[in-house]
Symmetry: D2
Subunit: 501 residues, 4 copies
Amino acid sequence: MSATATRLLDNYVAGAWTPAAASDALDVTNPATGEVLARVPLSGASDLDAAVRAARAALPVWRAVSVIERARRLFALREGLVARQEDLARCVTAEMGKTIGDARAEVGRMIEMVEAACAVPTTMQGRILEDVARNVDCETIRQPVGVCAAIVPFNFPAMVPFWFLPFAIGCGNTFILKPSEQVPLTQQIAFEVLDGLDLPAGVVNLVNGGREIVEGILDHPGIDAVSFVGSAPVAKIVYERAAQAGKRVQALGGAKNHIVVMPDAVIDKTVGGIVGSAFGAAGQRCMAGSVVVTVGEAHDRLMPALVQATEALAVGDGSDEATEVGPVVSCQARDRIAAWIDRGVADGATPVVDGRGVGGDGIHPEGAFVGPTILDDVLPGMDIAQEEVFGPVLVVVRAESLDEATAIVNASRFGNGTSIFTESGAAVRRFRHDVEAGMVGVNIGVAAPVAFFPFSGWKDSFLGDLHAHGGDAVEFFTRKKTVTSRWFSDGQGHGTYFVET
Amino acid sequence: MSATATRLLDNYVAGAWTPAAASDALDVTNPATGEVLARVPLSGASDLDAAVRAARAALPVWRAVSVIERARRLFALREGLVARQEDLARCVTAEMGKTIGDARAEVGRMIEMVEAACAVPTTMQGRILEDVARNVDCETIRQPVGVCAAIVPFNFPAMVPFWFLPFAIGCGNTFILKPSEQVPLTQQIAFEVLDGLDLPAGVVNLVNGGREIVEGILDHPGIDAVSFVGSAPVAKIVYERAAQAGKRVQALGGAKNHIVVMPDAVIDKTVGGIVGSAFGAAGQRCMAGSVVVTVGEAHDRLMPALVQATEALAVGDGSDEATEVGPVVSCQARDRIAAWIDRGVADGATPVVDGRGVGGDGIHPEGAFVGPTILDDVLPGMDIAQEEVFGPVLVVVRAESLDEATAIVNASRFGNGTSIFTESGAAVRRFRHDVEAGMVGVNIGVAAPVAFFPFSGWKDSFLGDLHAHGGDAVEFFTRKKTVTSRWFSDGQGHGTYFVET
Amino acid sequence: MSATATRLLDNYVAGAWTPAAASDALDVTNPATGEVLARVPLSGASDLDAAVRAARAALPVWRAVSVIERARRLFALREGLVARQEDLARCVTAEMGKTIGDARAEVGRMIEMVEAACAVPTTMQGRILEDVARNVDCETIRQPVGVCAAIVPFNFPAMVPFWFLPFAIGCGNTFILKPSEQVPLTQQIAFEVLDGLDLPAGVVNLVNGGREIVEGILDHPGIDAVSFVGSAPVAKIVYERAAQAGKRVQALGGAKNHIVVMPDAVIDKTVGGIVGSAFGAAGQRCMAGSVVVTVGEAHDRLMPALVQATEALAVGDGSDEATEVGPVVSCQARDRIAAWIDRGVADGATPVVDGRGVGGDGIHPEGAFVGPTILDDVLPGMDIAQEEVFGPVLVVVRAESLDEATAIVNASRFGNGTSIFTESGAAVRRFRHDVEAGMVGVNIGVAAPVAFFPFSGWKDSFLGDLHAHGGDAVEFFTRKKTVTSRWFSDGQGHGTYFVET
Amino acid sequence: MSATATRLLDNYVAGAWTPAAASDALDVTNPATGEVLARVPLSGASDLDAAVRAARAALPVWRAVSVIERARRLFALREGLVARQEDLARCVTAEMGKTIGDARAEVGRMIEMVEAACAVPTTMQGRILEDVARNVDCETIRQPVGVCAAIVPFNFPAMVPFWFLPFAIGCGNTFILKPSEQVPLTQQIAFEVLDGLDLPAGVVNLVNGGREIVEGILDHPGIDAVSFVGSAPVAKIVYERAAQAGKRVQALGGAKNHIVVMPDAVIDKTVGGIVGSAFGAAGQRCMAGSVVVTVGEAHDRLMPALVQATEALAVGDGSDEATEVGPVVSCQARDRIAAWIDRGVADGATPVVDGRGVGGDGIHPEGAFVGPTILDDVLPGMDIAQEEVFGPVLVVVRAESLDEATAIVNASRFGNGTSIFTESGAAVRRFRHDVEAGMVGVNIGVAAPVAFFPFSGWKDSFLGDLHAHGGDAVEFFTRKKTVTSRWFSDGQGHGTYFVET
């Protein structure tokens, strides 16, 4: 990690690293140690406005670059990120806390997004049909939307911004990124790579900051489209407020992801899938499994092995290669999560693994640690089974049949990801058909689709219609223009209406 | 037209014709004569709620019908509409005023929508890919969104509801239509056809009414998606308020459509295209050409022929086969339009054809008539050149080059349709590339795409991202579910994890 | 069935029913009774040439009809076929022998083909992309191939011709059909419907005949594309000879379809699936299951119920609603099939159900009957396990694992359809991934895809690259034309290169 | 160019550079100087068989690599080619003769092919649809075809092999390339890059040789698909013989490409387009314009400038940056071309620019030079207007209208590329609609589509149905497998058919 602790981060605006106008700044800390890594400015309206103006100015310039050439810049972006893969991963771990293994996987997925966006000369193709009426043709071409912005959360400092950035610019838009003020460092590296690509000034812009920038993005008339990833309440506000400003908007919100375990599940591998899903990134993934729903005898088969595996997890600084569970993002988060566990227990849950007050070797006293926690005997109606904790807390609920399990999943106001562990094709088909969630895993704990397929939830987990990445990205980042044409002259090279020179 | 003048219309809810609970009602009048054709109830919250409950109840029933069978109901719908084609057209003319020729064309386009929706077993297909990782597959399937509603305007009583209805139900959704209270009769016929299809009760519902039903649709938590077509200010409200309620929404608003005439345009045919665009349906089309932008010498070439053709138009009752321009929708509309002409003239425009106070044979004294009007010498900045009049009023603005003409088009806050008349391929390519509008006509006055391509504007003419009909309809009326799967057992028919019975 | 026994069938050429020039003719018989239903002419080169000339002459006329209007003719075709659905089914049974239930299902699928082809204004759309280089655009449009011909077999007199005809003409091609001389009557009805559609003369043509017409189609320079369905040896000849003539060609050949039964299969329903697959249409389907491969203990679980169900099948005249297995197509076929059973038994198979010499009530002495037959104890290498019998003969082979079963399937030179019966998702995924066949059924005995997906085998079951129906049909019946364009003038309406008039 | 003159080239088989078994070899010469650059072995059946065995063995290994990982190898391939871009271009010039500028452009297009193939995780996706019947789903997945081979011509030593190789391996096939024995050196470099990618041994193979290898590829039962680019007569043989062997085949043959010049064409730029098309690569491109068809007064406007520009072209060694026209590929080719010019003149053509006996500075006496030649006063029926010369010879034919010009184009037995130069949109639309050619240029001399769109001609210029690159490449290099599935058990986790362990 190249940042020095006291460095005040710059924005990247109009093709240059630029100090924010604002004087306020926040510390960026390593949650494993409390170390201050840098200071992030709380940019203000003038900073954002400069970025919007740069982005608007760049639009005609960038759009005039051919789509094949734009894709070539994405190929170069990919190469640049590959070259700095380990830097990026280490930075993710340092500022966000996840293990270096998780961070490397995240950076791998970040790069995969660029790979998917490289297909833009194929995916951006429109449709054309001759003779819709006699001598009349019709075609739909796709053109960029304009200036697009993304507001992203702390939990995937590398990947989530790249759900949007490469697709947006590949389609000919210009782009403004507001990273999470908790984890602004990783995108500094990404933008160093972008800075090396010789893009026209203003194509990509980075504005650090907090709520003022979020609101500015939603309201600024110079921004045409907004992509948001964050909590459900903020997603709701974003969706409404961007709509109020007449913008195109997609808002990915929170989740409470259920993992249904059928009695025939292959237990050892199911345990691996659950543990990775529930405790990877310390449970701070919008795709983290947070509720296990056991069907029938699955409960008795699953729980001993699950508890044992959870207890064996090594908690510590994510930069240690041996660590399996790192800290949560901040001490406030730690305390919030611990309070949630308290509340679950108070409501009747049994803490079969309790991560409160985790300590010991490898646990820095200033670190924001919560150990992996499993609460059994949870009833579907308890708050701990309904609300998003966003920490390494897994609750276990029982059902008697797949239909009952599905009903439990579908009763949630969220519908992001869900998984089923079974070898039964019939159970999978029924679950796939009936479950109300945008992403479904079959024997996979974290059912985040690869970059070539759309990512998004349903219900309160998502507001909008077009999902992130996959084919939806090109839909979101382009406007359709449908042309209907005919000609009056006969084009023979002579006669009344032909050219006379 | 089979309706008797004093008939109070029913709603269609849960598979049956149902009286509205409300006692208030409005007259439905023939704008050509002032005759009261029927009375339309102002349904209330309980009427809408009954429809929503019926639609929700029908969802699992209808979704269980195979997609091929659902398409077959659309084939039957088409046949039913074809059988009543002339009834529908006559009803459109009676309640809305447009000429019977325009009405027949509208009903033809209405049926074309059903034809496009019949492709749903093809267009609803999702994507699947094997081995995205070793032994891991990924697939995106498309499932219905839920209960969908459409709020539609007066100007296309037959067609606009069918931009949505056949696609929505073809995708497995259930549907609620709120027709315009000014023209509720045509959809009574459409729903008679639908009633004959043996759909499960609640799949399609018709709720007559006014603002209370509009607001109810936007707010009701039982409605998942809203399609709106109407004026720009209401579209803005719809977009914001549906977003506030967390719904999927597409809102098609108003327009100010420019027709660019290049100096090489084929004048006689260009005149035909302009006249049809500006005065067809008495200018009450969201795709009506309302501003001609002449480039260079095009003005002198065009105007005499244009004025002559406009003056020759036969104004009268649309049900008379000889009529070329019918009444506007109501006397209020007539007065509003006349006031706009006054204002244009006051601002400096020259009324080269003046339709105020049109009279004579065939003009019923109670009819809502405004004659075709052309205002020349209009400057781009005048209100009459910027605001939507929604009547048979065409303004003429001059430009010196295509770039200047395009700049005039792009300065509008609207971006619905626009046309260019020229034989120059270079001019067309440049215009197509640069103009900011969702629909472009080349030598075509009304560039409304056929049903198989998406329909929508840009900027203030449209809020949302997915357009009406074409491929976008299936996108809007389905939710994507992405499934990632693998299996742990080896499936050989023996061994630990295989079935033992 | 309206045909009188002595009627000599006409061809349909250039929009009119036309006698064949040839004097030779064959009897068309009802295989259940030996009754002569009609006589089919053996048309000659001049008949075919007339059809080709008519089809070529119709090409520009038909192509000038808009694609939406062409689709409307398909809508009308569908309505016409629906109106004569029962006539068509009865005719299929009369001339081909299959049960009336099977015949109705076939006609249903025939109509489904037309439904799929009705989507042609959507499916025929090409691709367009702006700015592949600066100011250079690229587009691929799809245009008809020209005159297309199909040569079809006896086993689906209604459906197989419609794998091609509606897609071909929907795409703007003209078409020549050579039906099987054994079952020419059903297409007489289909062409009566086509005759009522007011298509331009020559768009569809029907030429009855035998080998001379087949060879003529392959060689005639006026035919651009050939679709063939029949036996593997003829498919091979067709593929080679059409290629020699430079034509586009797809040749669907024979099959030996394996049904893999896993130990966990749901036996009662599996038996139903197998019986329907093996004995429906008296085994004369290219998708008929003809080899059961039992895995492990599946053999013992399956066989008693399978034998019992097979023995209970009612054999008789297909026109009797109670009949479950009708005759085979001819007495020659019956004798060939019986000889195959003899050979299987001679090679060591055990005839656990023996249909040779079937008799009794409902079995007409002149009828071409073979009863359902099951040969157990068959080894994979026996001829009866490798060669296509095309009759109601099912052989049973044993395997110890899914991999062994798959290897048995893959060792066949054919690769048309195959099915697996199991509830294991893992087994299905592995089978789907590894099996070498173009069509796979999961718990489905006849895995013929619906019209909206492509139909075809692999290996010796298919020669070519584009399959029948589904998206492939439009690929096969269109030629791609890729246009790359730019303009030199600036299109501003003045200047050197603009129009001066 | 790194090859030493006497180097005997190796094949690349099973992941290693391998000497051919054969002792025969041919000289590879620099056509600008006659210098021997290397010797190419005439491999025999055993060499090919080794490659086929390696390719078959690699199939399961390579297919087991995930599609995303396969794409990553293509990303690496792109980087490797970019790194050796100049080496490749210099090698092309050295062995084939085209100017270094043309060679660089060719290598650029070669790399673009890899870029297009990188989209394979998107483009290889199949289709899936739930509930085609109640509880029955259908899906089409795409799997590799098997071992694919390409036989390629001398004129694009770098690019044409890459129309196939990256798409084939991206789809999971293994591949055998037979380069032209006249220009085998460039692919030695390409395979050095491929060798560095750590592909499984046998995924890509290079077999040098002549007719014996061509025939071996057509006949070898271990090869599943053949792509051919070459002359029309050989394409015909390839198509027939590969079909005879039951293979999937696409055969791109010769051309006679017409350039239609309308009277309104922008002359200076049209001249540039024609000169580049007719004389670039010394006319040895299948997309080279070889017939100009002037419409009306276009002839008088065009010819003086065209002659002047042609006469000004610098002929010489392509490795000299100032050279505009290099040698043809060999002295035999030179003599054949000169004989064609003689014949044209004998038939009545007027040689307005005569390239026979070109000499002077920069013309090596051993070089295979023909200067740019224009024959005016050519009639459409002359052999010189009908047959492919494949050299820098342009003939000029006159027409009176676009329809007459189009008829001249369509009378050719070829239908590869054609261009029109005009500013008239009407002329372009009519030409695009009516002309019988697979590739059309509008104001572009060489209308070769970019890699993201399909490349191919019609009529004798192409045999098969699926074109090269673009979306067609994935169609050609995959087999479709359609799966129809249902489940019998209810999957609830208990009951008769659920798993008991």
